[in-house]
């Protein structure tokens, strides 16, 4: 079992803390600094208990699933999502497959949302509730009773 975080945490001087704070761009009052010193001492202990010396060849923790080239089969949920969001008929994009392959925030923003499955009667009701018009109606329908639709104290 690793040592208790508080026991293994190195002490931090006011100067060191001020340096870390200015690097983070934080402006705190003395009480907030005192709270942070207490918390940081414990977090530093937790960090110290995590092994850092790993072989360079170890895989990184993250995996990125890029959208497949146009026409390729989707093999992961993220790929499937990306594929579903592709425009239905865009001749220019089809003529330039390279541009379609490259993940691009602007291009993604222009894509249409995924087509919904055929709704059941209850799902249709929920969908109706989710539309802005229905949402406005729900908001308007908010009760004005004594204990409702207001913060509780």
């Amino acid at each position: 079992m690793p040592a208790s975080p508080a026991m293994s945490a190195p002490p931090i001087s006011p100067g060191e803390m001020q340096l870390l704070l200015s690097r983070a761009g934080l402006v705190l009052n003395p009480g907030q600094v005192a709270d942070l010193v207490l918390a940081w001492r414990q977090v530093a202990g937790l960090i110290a208990s995590i092994p850092h010396d790993r072989p360079l060849a170890d895989d990184m923790a993250y995996a990125f699933h890029l959208a497949p080239p146009v026409g390729a089969a989707a093999t992961s949920p993220a790929m499937a999502a990306a594929k579903r969001q592709q425009p239905i008929a865009r001749p220019k994009a089809a003529a330039r497959p390279k541009a379609a392959v490259r993940p691009n925030a602007k291009a993604r923003a222009k894509r249409k949302p995924a087509a919904p499955r055929a709704p059941t009667a209850l799902q249709a009701k929920a969908k109706a509730q989710a539309t802005p018009k229905a949402a406005a109606k729900r908001k308007a329908a908010k009760p004005v009773g004594r204990k409702t639709a207001r913060p509780r104290r």
Binding site: L26, L38, A39, Q42, L46, I47, P77, A126, P143
Partner: protein, 464 residues
Amino acid sequence: MKGSVPPFLTIAEAGRLIAAKRLSPVELVKELLARIETVDPRLNAFLLVTERQALAEARTAERAVMAGSRAPLLGIPLAYKDIYETAGVRTTAHSRILADNVPKQDAETVRRLHAEGVVMLGKLATHEFAIGGPAFDLPWPPARNPWDTRRFTGGSSSGSGAAVAAGMALGALGSDTGGSIRLPAAYCGIAGIKPTPGLVSRRGVIPLAPSLDTAGPMAWTAQDCAILLDALAGHDPLDPASVAVPKVSYAGAIAAPVKGLRVGLLRRFYEHDVPASTEMLQMVNRAVATLKGLGCRVDDATLPAVQEYNAVGRVIISSEAYALHEATLKQRLSDYSRAFRVRVLAGALVRAADYIAAQRRRSDLIAITAQAFEKFDVLIAVPTAGAAPMLTEQRPDDGFSRPLLTTVANVAAIPSMVVCGGFTTAGLPLGLEIMGPAWADATVLRVGHQFEQAAGTRERRPEL
């Protein structure tokens, strides 16, 4: 539709009565609204009660029932932790920062429930942004435990735990990043499951730490959690973490016997890493006897120390939560609770190399934990060292200074549920935690359900 409303109902019972036209969804909602009005001033579980909307939805459900519709959740009244976005209904995350936030869309989970005919009763208390609490320096007070209102509910799905235990809602949505569904389930004596990451969409749920966040149901019984999970589970292409897995009937799966199941007992967790109270140890012994009585094979199991999982979890949570809130923290620092600041600001000082080390160590812990399931179908532990502590005993730096037993399952990316394992001599509930390998949510629910049935821990309700 006529028929009196029994004082306490499970989702399964209410669903059966409604389907048989022996219980009116409208009368059920009226009964619960009256209970909320009577009981909630002592519990502070609700931040907002959507009375008129609930009655309108109940009438719609009643018409559907009369027209012949049948669905397990049709007309069932639930409430949502106030980090679930609800179209046209204020969603605050229990924070001044979002005090006037009215989302335009429902969270995907809320949409799925409403598609099944669920009635929303209102929005529930949480810790500020699912981490900063319990806090007394926010516009709304923290929720209180229905078994003893001086005591802590656990968090961060604090209102969800209190509302279900007090019978103000038949079920609730919670979220779990380090134990936030299972801790209130344990302290409030209910059931709650943190599903396998990717099983339930998190789209529209205000995030805390996206690498670890999980959305899930809380209810009086494991069976009710299974019914809710049937509606909640499913691929969401717009949640990048969502995974397309074959559809499973969780409510159908729980009825199968557990005879022959291999149960691993994580004894070192609660005897050494986070020593449990005597009453908790006695409860575990009784639970083991109950599981053996059901035909399970119980043996000791070992995993790395709880502290190892916690170190990884806390570093990831602090870093990611700070990153999400950095801009707002720099502009509105004093609008956050002190508890939030203490738990999140330290994330500003974590180096990128330390964060990556935590993520890499997490990969190891996921692999090591998965290996343990080669010998066992489920692992058993306790979610807390004892019964609910006093609310005033909670410290802003809890979570750093005291490791959470529940964080193991978040870091290991496995499903984990808490059911009521028994009670202290003072009448406070004690939780039992059941973990399974990734995607074995149905097995976890099955063990939870069969245990509840055999142990008989679902008969007692808090007296309010």
